[in-house]
């Protein structure tokens, strides 16, 4: 092992003065903590709900939430809600991603296109999707379209940014190599350009996914007759805290799963890449 690396493992000095750093030897918390965190949360929650400090229907014990979950799953309500939400997400995300990739690649590849399109892009970025909900309602009504459009908008912008950065940052050398070897345009795209832009593109796609999931649930809170958000809203109006909490938990779990799943996908696609 090199001397530089060895230095990191030097034994503690004999007469060590009090460390003036922020105890950085403890910087990396043990990994089992990450796995334990939801359990700790549930445990604390359980204790709180049974402590008698709050009425049972204000701080609902985890078991009740679990039972509600089972019940709603068994009678088909939950699968239907989830299915509707995820379907909207998929459709809107697909549309937004394609639009975003097209826009981003165009802006990245052509300085002309960038000059024309970037300012409008930046303006759109300043308009938070949530704030556009009333405007979109007027434009698209309160059916499925408006939700899909909202998801598409929420997706398109981060994806476009990712694609733009990916294309912009292709090392000039790559394209030169392609030219030297007289590689055809199709091959050049799939073997040189696409792999080079994938990391930044994937990052944009991943950001877009979490963002659009949030936007969807928010939209469903306001305008829907089914879906996870709507289920929560209904729970709220009926003062069914267990349903609301179930929705909260599911929103978080699905968001987490989407993000983690996407990271796995990302790793599969960019395997073997130099950092």
């Amino acid at each position: 092992m090199s001397l530089q690396a060895a230095r990191l493992f030097a034994p503690k000095p004999a007469a060590a003065p009090a460390s003036i750093g922020m105890g950085r030897a403890a910087r990396d918390l043990p990994p089992w903590l990450a796995v334990l965190s939801p359990l700790i949360l549930i445990g604390a929650w359980s204790a709180l709900s049974y402590s008698g400090l709050f009425p049972r229907d204000i701080v609902v014990p985890p078991e009740v939430i679990w039972q509600t979950f089972i019940a709603k799953w068994a009678n088909g309500e939950l699968p239907q809600h989830l299915g509707n939400s995820l379907l909207r997400l998929t459709v809107g995300y697909a549309i937004g991603a394609i639009a975003g990739i097209a826009l981003g690649t165009l802006m990245g590849a052509s300085k002309q296109a960038e000059a024309y399109l970037m300012p409008s892009f930046l303006i759109l970025r300043q308009l938070p999707t949530i704030a556009l909900i009333p405007a979109f309602i007027l434009l698209f009504g309160v059916g499925e379209t408006v939700k899909i459009v909202l998801v598409a908008k929420a997706t398109a912008l981060p994806v476009a940014l990712g694609a733009f950065q990916g294309v912009r940052n292709i090392p000039g050398g790559y394209l030169d190599v392609a030219r030297v070897f007289r590689v055809g345009p199709v091959t050049r795209f799939f073997r040189v350009i696409l792999p080079a832009i994938l990391p930044a593109l994937f990052q944009g796609l991943r950001t877009a996914l979490s963002h659009s999931w949030v936007v969807l649930v928010a939209a469903e809170l306001l305008i829907a007759d089914n879906g996870l958000g709507q289920m929560m809203e209904w729970g709220r109006q009926s003062f069914r805290l267990d349903i609301v909490l179930l929705g909260v938990v599911l929103t978080g779990v699905i968001g987490f799963a989407l993000d983690k799943g996407f990271r796995l996908l990302e790793r599969a696609f960019t395997a073997g890449r130099a950092a």
Partner: protein
């Protein structure tokens, strides 16, 4: 401003120094049986291949690292922690980016009990000494590599240390800047005649500046030979005598076992 007057007394005495690192629970011998006596006002250069422990040696002398066997004595007192009577300049100037040059140099005096007026005076003197007058309010980001290193030297000297330790201070600079700073170092040292120990990978630099050149071997780090450079300062870089010594040292370094 008076530094300690030069003499022939021993300033720094290293006896039987050895150090291990523990890696994967196995000890790695980094330094072995280092014996060195440095006279007051001497300029010692240390050369050696990577992995010979020369940086570790310097860090031990500075007190940043600890846990060694043997003795390191400065003016007869054992060293085991950093102290203001030993200054250290790293290869990376490591100036605090959010402080101006003046603040960076003044930071060294944070724990020196002297009057504020004297602190201000000292800081200004040192900045002038290293040739950075006019850049007192510049941030490190505005400085070139050479200038930053000068500021680091000023910072190390403002506490008036008995020993100045330099760990490959000019290693990250381009050749021209390096030559210029070598001359600067010599000028500053000649003016104040403090004891200096400089680690470098540049043999020419080591021979040009040092009164003695310590040649180290790796695995484990130990002193192979100490070469005298008995020429008066300031020296002529082009002198054939210096070149001979340089060639000797180089031959020594390249001949050793891998």
């Amino acid at each position: 401003m008076a530094f300690e007057p030069a003499g022939t007394t021993t300033k720094l005495a290293i006896t039987g120094l050895a150090k291990n690192y523990i890696i994967d629970r196995k000890p790695l011998r980094v330094l072995e049986n280092i014996n060195l006596e440095v006279a007051d006002g001497e300029f010692i250069s240390v050369v050696g291949r990577s992995g010979c422990g020369k940086s570790t040696l310097l860090r031990l002398i500075s007190g940043l690292e600890n846990g060694y066997s043997g003795e390191i004595r400065l003016d007869g007192e054992i060293i085991h922690a950093p102290s203001l009577d030993r200054g250290l300049v790293f290869q990376d100037p490591s100036l605090l980016p959010w402080m101006t040059v003046r603040e960076n140099v003044a930071f060294a005096l944070s724990n020196v009990r002297i009057a504020k007026a004297e602190k201000t005076e000292r800081v200004a003197e040192l900045i002038d000494l290293v040739g950075l007058k006019g850049f007192e309010t510049a941030f490190p980001k505005e400085l070139s590599g050479g200038m930053a290193q000068r500021a680091a030297i000023a910072r190390a000297l403002v506490t008036q240390p008995k020993v100045l330790l330099l760990d490959e201070p000019l290693g990250a600079l381009d050749a021209l800047t390096r030559v210029r700073l070598q001359n600067e170092l010599q000028r500053i040292w000649l003016k104040h005649k403090m004891t200096v120990i400089m680690v470098t990978h540049d043999v020419e630099e080591a021979v040009y500046l040092g009164d003695r050149v310590v040649i180290m071997d790796p695995n484990p780090g130990r002193i192979r030979r100490v070469v005298d450079v008995p020429h008066p300062h300031p020296r002529d870089r082009t002198s054939p005598a210096l070149h001979t010594i340089r060639d000797q040292v180089l031959a020594d370094l390249t001949l050793g076992k891998i």
